[in-house]
Symmetry: C2
Amino acid sequence: MIKIFGHTNPDLDSIASAYAAEYLLSKKGIDAKAFRLGDYNKEVNYATNYFGITLDMPLIDRVEDNDEVMLVDHNEFTQSVGNIENAKIFMVIDHHKIDNFRTKEPLEYIAKPVGCNSTTIYEMLKEINAIDRKDVLAMLLSAIISDTLLLKSPTTTKKDIDVAEEIAGILGVNLNEYGYELLKAGADLSDVTEDELVRIDSKVFEPNGKKIEIAQINAVDMDSILSRQSKIEEAMNKVIAEKGLDAFLVAVTDVVNCNSEIIAIRK
Amino acid sequence: MIKIFGHTNPDLDSIASAYAAEYLLSKKGIDAKAFRLGDYNKEVNYATNYFGITLDMPLIDRVEDNDEVMLVDHNEFTQSVGNIENAKIFMVIDHHKIDNFRTKEPLEYIAKPVGCNSTTIYEMLKEINAIDRKDVLAMLLSAIISDTLLLKSPTTTKKDIDVAEEIAGILGVNLNEYGYELLKAGADLSDVTEDELVRIDSKVFEPNGKKIEIAQINAVDMDSILSRQSKIEEAMNKVIAEKGLDAFLVAVTDVVNCNSEIIAIRK
């Protein structure tokens, strides 16, 4: 059985990509199962509640030597499951730059420079006439809204827009209304502690041997986040010490007006 | 303009992949040009003479900073053009393991675990209804024959076989007769010096910081090659000294009977 998973601290795209890829492989007669490398976030919970979807994606943090795996929505080993170096990578579907990635054998690797990985997975499902499952389409649409901030982020491509509109049409969903509610649900941070805030969607990069973590906080009301800046910086310093980081950057993005503030701390 | 090229010491697949990818991009409205990182080999010359094709693929050994490039039939920087680290990689179509490869930005990367990269390019051309150029099809067919040793090598997949038979049908070519002549032309080594033999199709790998070169010699009459072993070893030792290799392996393959002998020398 091939284990499919997105990156650690999974966002909606990582969850939806793995969920839909399990269906993609099953349609090709390949035994595969979607996993997750972290808790479902608020956007995932909002989307699954809204569409009445029950996810069954077991949590894992490590694979065994020679396990067959499929990576979605990431390729860098630093963002992947434990022991990924010793797994057999069957396939990758991703939309990021390629780095910290290597295989021992040829594989299928599909990367497209689109705003959301779920856009590519939708196109691959469509190619084999497998856009018949509404739960899968709902997850993919929700992921595109999430990753592109309702088709407004600078990484949004024409393909993301076309696919989002096509799925919304199939499902009979009002893209703007649902999208705004989804982003708002994801951005409700009033009950989230600062320690949690800086860990919700964070990734470690290692350029030139430096260890740098970048976290993303999506907010509807950015001022309420920035009013917590000193406590956020305390939380960041804790993470720097724990993980031996050289630097920690937190990007706070106003998802409605599409601007960002960066909080950066060096070791 | 996007510069397209296969690996150094180009084999027929690297030449055909670049030639066909230029057509693929042109059909998508993208300005691109095929280049080569070494001389046309005997198989390339046999195929182009047979089909009356004139190739216009300039030789390059280096790209400028920020040049836009497309890699076909390879991904490892050690097998690519000079200064590849500083180019902007627009796209990759390949069929090898991924290693010594990284990008600064998202890109389109298509890898399939097939015996010949030209198989994948044919499928991509077919997807956009662009299998109308006989010269392109003839190059792709010839590459599949070359890379899979007439569909007999262990790396050959069902897709390679299906595509080769499909193209042969379109072109009205007898696959076995043409294939045998092509391989024989490529394997005529009587006028090739030992210094040339070990450089015809060789690649450098750097596993665990070791620098290892692997060369492939395809022969119809393997005994005639092995009778030259001591001179081949002299030539290998020269390359080891020149390039500071830790080891040099030469695989001599009998392309008709599909067995191989390995000559290996450590520093």
